[in-house]
């Protein structure tokens, strides 16, 4: 789990880009100026799903990592390097979710500027 | 000291070092006097044996760990009254009427083995202290 976890997190971080802001549908009801018809079905749905999946995955990883640390603390687990990596993963997951939130806010503000 | 922490552990480890060093001093005395046939009290040198005792760090503490952690001390140094070997040597200044000299009851081989054991135990104490220092350093790194 450990080493692959960090790689997967890196993949997801790369997926979240501000340029994708114009493709956001969920929660942004009135967005005049963007012709929704010009976007294909898959492009419109894909990004928000990917976003949700990324946040869920980061949250799950963080939760799993914390469970692993608690097990190690209670003496139920003997895996030293796995737990140390999980500890780092937990920190990275927090920052990943924060980073996703930041980029989402940036994207929203950009759209808001287009509106006005 | 009311909780089992770094400083209580250091005190225990330190007591081990002191006790083993005390034992090494006694062994040194035995070895140095392995052939002393006349002491100030008269008679040959008699072997000394240190007796180690366990002393609780905090016998009245509320914390059960503190009650059960024991320092080690040399409680007393016993003099062995076992008779030593009798050597037939009429020319010896300390020979008795029959020409026998009573040697000290020190067995050099036993004393050397004890010295090695004490030395090993001393090193174990040093290892204990290194380990405790490592834990203290790890705790100090939390804030850095």
């Amino acid at each position: 789990m450990s080493g692959q976890g960090i790689e997967a997190i890196g993949q997801q971080l790369r997926m979240v880009r501000p340029e994708d802001a114009s493709n956001i549908r969920d929660g942004f009801d009135q967005v005049p100026g963007i012709d929704e018809g010009s976007l294909s079905e898959t492009e419109q749905v894909g990004f928000s799903d990917a976003l949700t999946a990324a946040v869920d995955d980061a949250a799950t990883r963080g939760h799993d990592a914390h469970e692993m640390m608690k097990d190690f603390a209670a003496g139920r687990l003997d895996d030293l390097h796995g737990t140390m990596i999980a500890s780092e993963e937990a920190g990275i997951s927090v920052k990943l979710v924060g980073s996703i939130r930041d980029k989402l806010l940036d994207a929203f503000q950009e759209l808001w500027r287009i509106n006005v | 000291m009311s909780v089992p922490g770094i400083f209580s552990a250091l005190e225990v480890a330190g007591s081990g070092l002191t006790a083993e060093r005390g034992r090494m001093n006694v062994i040194a005395s035995n070895l140095a006097n392995a052939r002393t046939t006349r002491t100030a009290e008269g008679g040959p040198y008699k072997r000394l044996d240190p007796v180690f005792e366990a002393k609780s760090l905090a016998p009245n503490a509320f914390d059960p760990v503190m009650r059960n952690v024991h320092k080690v001390e040399i409680g007393r140094v016993e003099r062995s009254d076992e008779p030593g070997q009798l050597i037939y040597d009429p020319e010896h200044p300390d020979a008795d009427e029959a020409g026998y000299v009573e040697m000290p009851n020190v067995n050099v081989v036993t004393e050397m083995v004890n010295l090695m054991t004490a030395s090993r135990a001393y090193e174990a104490g040093v290892t204990s202290i290194e380990s405790i220092k490592s834990m203290a350093s790890a705790a100090l790194r939390i804030g850095r």
């Binding site: 927090v94 924060g98 | 090993r120 790890a138």
Partner: protein, 127 residues
Amino acid sequence: MDIIGTISPLTQAMDFHLARQNLLTANLAHVDTPGFRARELYRVDGFGGALEVAMQATDERHIAGSGSSAEWKVDIDPHASVGPNGNSVDLDREAVKVASNNLRYDALSTMVKGSLQGLRWAAQNGR
């Protein structure tokens, strides 16, 4: 993502391993004491379960990590064989325990440091 909920079990585990270090150090110091029995520190698991529930009820004392010894137990080590003079301390066995206990404590302290850094980051980067 439950950073605060993880720190308390970590610090309590650190308290446990530090207390255990005291007992193991004493074992090593008494390798030559006649009649001395090697001791061990055990977690009382039944208590551990009850403590878990109490922490979820957000009792402030538990978040503070009081490290009370109510959930630990000191006992004579049953696996240490007794020698001729009543002493049951095996130098090598105890030395190995000292090393592994040290390792666990160091690992836990690193995890605590990481968790605290995560908390600090979250506190500084709220928008």
